[in-house]
Amino acid sequence: MNNKASLQLGGGNWAAKDANLLAYKTSLSEKSFLPIEFTFERGANLAGTRVDENGLIEKGRENLLKQSNIFNGSEWIKGNFSFLENQTDKDGGTTAWKATCSTTYNYLGQNVSGSGVYTFSGYFRKGDSNEGVRFNFSASTDTNVYIDLTDGSSTDNGNLIYKSITAAGNGFYKVVVTANLSSLATVRFFITNGGTAQVSGNIYIQQFQIEVGLVATDYIETGASTAQAGVLEDLPRIDYTGGTPSLLLEPERTNVIRNSEYLDISTDWGGFPTSNPVIQTQNYAVAPDGTKTASLLSNFITAGFNIVNNSNFRSPTSGTQNPIDGAYTISVYLKTTSGTGTITLLNRGLSPGTNSAQYISCNVTNEWQRFDVTNTYDASEGASSLGFTIIRNSSDTLEEVLVWGAQVEAGSYVTSYIPTHGAIATRGEDDVDQNSSDTFGSGAFSLFFEHEPIPTGFDGQVLLLSVNPLDFYFRYTNDNILNIWNQDAQQAILNTSIGRNANHKICMVYDGAGTTDIYVDGVKKRDGYSYTWPDGPYKILLNTTAIVSGDIPVHISQVMTFETALTNAECITLTTL
C-alpha cells in the first residue's frame, strides 16, 4: 500500500471478492485503510478464462448434478432404490452411501439436459452381494460403461470418448466417463452382476459430478442447485499473463468453433489427404490448462498435402458461411512433442484470389504458445467460407504437433481463450465501474495509472475520471496515440505516441492552482497545461462504454489517486518502467 495514496487499486493488493473488485481508500488524517468495491459484470463464467498464478489457463467449472452426495434427495430419480448414509468412504470417513435396489432393471438417475461433450466422475465400491454397476448417459445415442467393481475392468458402447476406472482407496473405484452426446436427458446407474446383467442388490456410492468438457476436475459439492468453481460469473479476471497480476478487460466475443478442445477428425475437423490423412489422438498430453486434453496431430509426412482443417462453422458476424466484410482472427495453442520445428497456421478462403489466405509459419517449441492469424474479408473480391487450417507447408519441419484451444472470432485481434464443448459460445464484455464511493475532492491531486493496451488497430478508452456531469478520459486513437481528453474544455490535454502490447505508467498531476503536468514512462510529456479542474468529488471508472468510442481490451495493473500534487521526482520515480 502506497502510504500517500487516497485510492489504490491493483499493484500488490489485487483482490477479487464476490462479484466486486476491491480497492483501498485511505485516509491520511485518520491513518486508516478503507476497502471500497468496484462493481463488476461480465455475465459469463463458462466462457471466461484467465491465466492463473501458476501460469495455467483457468476456466469456470460447474457440477451439473444437484444433491451430488445426497442420494436420497428429491432431485434424484430413485425408482426402487433405498439408501443408507454415513457409510465408510474412499478416504476413511463416512460420507459414502449404500444404495440398495429391490428389483432388477431399475435405476438411480437424474435429469441433465444438453448436447455436447460431457464428463461424469464418481466413486463406487462393490456391494455386499453385488459386484458391478452400469453407468449410462441417456441421450439420442446412449453411452454405457459396465464396470466390474471387483477388479475395475469394464466394457462399453455408445459415443464414448474416454473412460478410466482407477482404485481410489477403501475398495472404491473412481469412474470417469467422457462422451460426445446429442440431446442428453438423464444420467443413470444400474446395479449389475459385474457384467451386463442388471440385478437387484446393493453397491456403495460417493460424490457424483457431471461437467462439460473432456476431463473430470476437482469435485464440487452441490445441494438443491448446481454449483460452480473457478472463474465465476461476474468475478473480475485477475490475469497473470507475463507473471504479474492485472485486471483483464475485454469486449464481447464469440468462439464459433463448437469444439475447441475435442478435435475429432471425424466430426467438425477434416484430415487430408483422404488416402493418408493426418491422424488425431485426443487427450494425448497435458494442455495449457493443466488437464490432459491436448490432441496430437501426426502424420504430417507430405509437405503441402497434409492438412487438418475446420470450415464447419458459421461466420461470427453474418451467421452464414459467407461472412460480412471485416476482420476475423483464428488462434490455437501449439507445442512440439520434443525439440522445435515449424508448422503453418492458415486463415483461409476469406477472399478468393491470389492473396486470399493469410498464414504464419509457427515456430513451435516444447512449451505451449498461442499463435494467431487475422484475415480481412472483402465481399467485392468474391465470397467464400471461413476456414481454420493447420498445414505442413513446403518449408515446415514438423511431422507431428500437439494442439489445444482452437478459436475463431470476429475482430482484428485475438482475445482470451473461450472454451467450447459442442456449441459455439459467447463471452460477455467485462464491465467495471466504481460504486458510490468517491476518490478525491477539490484542489491538488495526482492520478497514477499503469496498464497494457492489448491489441493494435483498435481505438477506445481505458479509464475515465468523472466529476458530474463531466468526463476526462484516457483513450487510444489512431492506433497508437494516447489521448487524454478534457470534455469540459473540448481539448486534448495530451496526445502522444505510445506502443501497444507493452506496459505503460502514466501520472497526471494538478497543483491546485491551474497547472497540470503529465508523465508517461518516466518522462514529462505535458508541462504546464493550463486548466482549473472543477471541484470534486471525482470517480474513477475503468474501461467504461459511457463514451461512444468504445472499450479497448486492456490489462490494468494499478490505479492510484493522491489528494496532493506529487513532486517532479516522485512522478518520475513512479512512472519509470
Binding site: 459469463a44 463464467n45 466462457a47 439436459s113 442447485s225 460469473e233 459455439i424 459467447t426 461512444v548
Partner: protein, 109 residues
C-alpha cells in the same frame, strides 16, 4: 440479472431492424446465428438451411417485450450458448416448463 432468449425472424433485414431499434447504447449481448442448419449435409447433399434468420440475445435486465413475437424454444444447447451458467439455467428451466416434450424421460428397460 441477465436473461437468455432465442429469436427467429422472417429474414435478415427484419432481424437487423429489430437490433437497430435497440439503439446504439444498449448493453445487451446480441449474436446473429443467421440461417441455421436444419438438415446436416453429407458428401452428396448440401445442408438444408433455414429460410428464417435466427438471433440469440442475452438481455441485460428485462426481456424487451417487442421481441416476444419472434421468441422461439428448442431442445437445449445445441447451437450456441452464452457463457453464463445462471442464464443457461433460467433458460433451460423455462423451456422445460413451456415445452416438456423437449425433455423426454428415458424409457424403462
Amino acid at each position: 440479472m441477465r436473461t437468455f432468449r432465442k429469436y427467429q425472424f422472417v429474414d435478415a433485414d427484419t432481424a437487423k431492424a429489430a437490433i437497430t431499434a435497440l439503439g446504439e447504447e444498449h448493453r445487451h449481448s446480441v449474436v446473429e446465428l443467421g440461417h441455421i442448419v436444419e438438415t446436416p449435409g453429407d458428401e452428396e447433399n448440401p445442408p438444408v438451411m433455414s429460410t428464417t434468420y435466427h438471433v440469440d440475445v442475452l438481455w441485460k435486465g428485462e426481456v424487451d417485450p417487442s421481441w416476444d413475437e419472434q421468441m422461439v424454444w428448442c431442445p437445449p444447447m445445441g447451437l450456441h450458448v452464452f457463457g453464463s451458467s445462471s442464464a443457461i439455467k433460467e433458460w433451460t428451466e423455462t423451456c422445460k416448463r413451456l415445452h416438456p416434450e423437449y425433455f423426454p424421460e428415458p424409457e424403462e428397460e
